[in-house]
């Protein structure tokens, strides 16, 4: 059952500095922090300006209002006159220093201009091609300091880009830069799922003529065929400890949920219905699964212990509900809500059972939470094109990311990476 394959179709095509998505942000947080980001001294020598990457990261959250520093250019704390910065609450300054060995040192500071204090100071030395990664780290630090939540600018997303029959499984930074193609096929690819350490992706590929589940290392590109039973093998989801995956197999008849170890051994069936049970996803504590089932006559979301047993129906509104994913704190879940012929992205609180619709509706599918729980990534359609979109978990800030080519399907947000 465990099979290793080394296919030449596994590509590692990295295009670091090119934006592959056009990004449009609408809406704003309830309280926007006015912040000024002074261009870093010496950054004009780099291919990409650190202050611009940091500013664009922060603006996309809708939680910050960018104020132009106009002609004021302090680069060190001693050069800052707080009286000049009355319109902002926070100020970021920094420097880029070229080392003799060709590497670059980046120093930055975050200042509280109301309390007139230093909030944060960091210095990083790195290779020149790591500028984007460093800028995202700086943005993460600023975001964490000013909002109290972890930033997700350094995390990555995965999705499928489809152009006619040609499908690519893609990994990109959360801002759409640094696209890497992991697999390219003239057959469908579905359901990418991140391992909790962010080092592997499981997915469904039709390269052998029908749906089979693979797991692939992002570092070595090595992959294993996890399930290739007769019929369809699909819907992989990793347990939070990375030790096992939930899968959906049809070799016993209908789509049913199974657990398997990450090396493909010890397969166990855990759902026993005569209907469709699919799209399993683990709770953050690893004890429960949410899944989609039509056992009640229409597709709805259910919860079940990973030990199996009785399942509890959770959704009752709309005609159908699909694709559940737990929030990182485990208190709510996000899902695709189908009503009146349109798909919406909605969240439901486990305790109050209240449902909140986050999006205007349309062809909105496959939501997943950012690892800080503040944003939801999903697939939607604009002018007939499949695109990526995010919405803040309170529904206030929306972002659309249109690819330069192809249709985006099946997006999923990756975990925090250390």
């Amino acid at each position: 059952m465990l099979r290793l394959s080394s296919l030449i179709i596994l590509l590692c095509l990295s295009l670091p500095a090119r934006a592959v998505l056009d990004i449009e942000v609408t809406g704003a947080g309830e309280h926007q922090v006015p912040i000024a980001i002074v261009p870093f001294e010496g950054e004009e020598l780099l291919d990409q300006r650190i202050s611009e990457i940091v500013a664009s990261d922060l603006v996309r959250t809708g939680l910050f209002k960018l104020i132009s520093p106009s002609d004021k250019t302090p680069h060190e704390t001693s050069e800052v006159k707080f009286a000049d910065w009355a319109k902002v609450e926070a100020l970021t300054i920094g420097q880029v220093i070229r080392q003799p060995d060709g590497r670059i040192e980046i120093r930055f500071r975050l200042l509280d201009t109301v309390k007139k204090t230093d909030l944060l100071g960091q210095s990083v030395t790195a290779k020149k091609d790591q500028v984007r990664a460093i800028a995202h780290r700086i943005a993460d630090s600023i975001y964490a300091k000013l909002t109290g939540s972890s930033g997700v600018f350094s995390t990555r997303i995965a999705y499928v880009n489809r152009q006619g029959k040609y499908n690519r499984l893609v990994i990109a930074d959360s801002d759409g830069f640094g696209e890497q193609t992991l697999l390219a096929l003239n057959q469908p690819i579905m359901s990418p799922a991140w391992s909790p350490d962010g080092k592997s992706l499981a997915y469904v590929s039709f390269e052998q003529g029908r749906a089979m589940v693979y797991a692939q290392s992002l570092q070595t590109q090595r992959r294993i065929l996890l399930a290739s039973f007769p019929g369809s093998n699909s819907a992989p989801a990793w347990s939070p400890d990375g030790q096992q995956l939930a899968l959906v197999l049809t070799h016993d008849g209908n789509s049913q949920i199974y657990l398997v170890r990450a090396d493909g051994t010890d397969l166990r069936r855990i759902s026993f219905s005569t209907t469709i049970d699919t799209e399993p996803t683990f709770s953050p504590d690893g004890r429960y699964l949410l899944f989609t089932s039509d056992r009640g006559g229409s597709a709805q979301i259910y919860r079940m212990s990973i030990k199996g047993g009785e399942a509890e129906r959770l959704t009752f509104e709309g005609s159908n509900n699909f694709s559940p994913r737990f929030s990182p704190d485990g208190k709510s879940f996000v899902f695709a809500h189908f009503k009146g012929g349109a798909f919406y992205i909605a969240v439901q609180d486990f305790e109050t059972k209240q449902i909140q619709i986050l999006t205007p509706g349309g062809w909105e599918k496959k939501p997943s939470f950012a690892p800080n729980g503040k944003l939801v990534l999903f697939a939607t359609e604009v002018h007939g094109r499949g695109i990526l979109a995010t919405v803040s978990s309170d529904g206030r800030v929306k972002q659309k990311m249109t690819p330069q080519q192809g249709d985006i399907r099946e997006p999923t947000w990756g975990p925090f990476i250390n």
Binding site: L11, R210, G253, N254
Partner: protein, 208 residues
Amino acid sequence: MKRLILSIVLINLLSACAYFKPIKHADKAKPAPEATAEKPATPAVENATVGSATASEVNAQTTATAETATSANATATETAESAAGATAKADPLNDPSSALAKRSVHFPFDVDAIQDADKQTIQAHGEYLSAHAERKVRTEGNADERGSSEYNLALGQRRANNTKKALILSGAQADQIEAISYGEEKPMATGHDEESWAKNRRTDINYK
């Protein structure tokens, strides 16, 4: 940069594979008509005429496939196989007026049960498979896009499974049929309208 070049080469190789596949099929088909054209010469004149007629058809199709290099042209191979068969009878599978000419069954929204309108099609294929134990088919289930991709994969599989069961009830053996699903991944029509959706809610009976 090296990596990039390598990747591009790989992509080209891949697309080259996809491009040449149909030609391979055509090549396979080529020798068959020659053989049949020679063989029937001894047993019977009648057979020879049927054989040669089919052979010229196959030839025409083979060239067409090779020239246009379109998607895998199964017809060329099938015709060649039937021509190669010792029996002089034309394969009813290739008769456009036969009930076997219909290779798809359709379903209402979120339904996987075989509809009355398709029972004749199922019956015909079940009986054909029963009479031709060497033939194998794939029942390929599809769904419209109103659902998640995974739910639709499951629904398509159920449609394929039910089509398989119905074929078995009509005489086919289980090992002649492989049931698989494409879900919403290979739509025949891409519009967000009932006309497109109706086309996509189906199982195809695909002879191997």
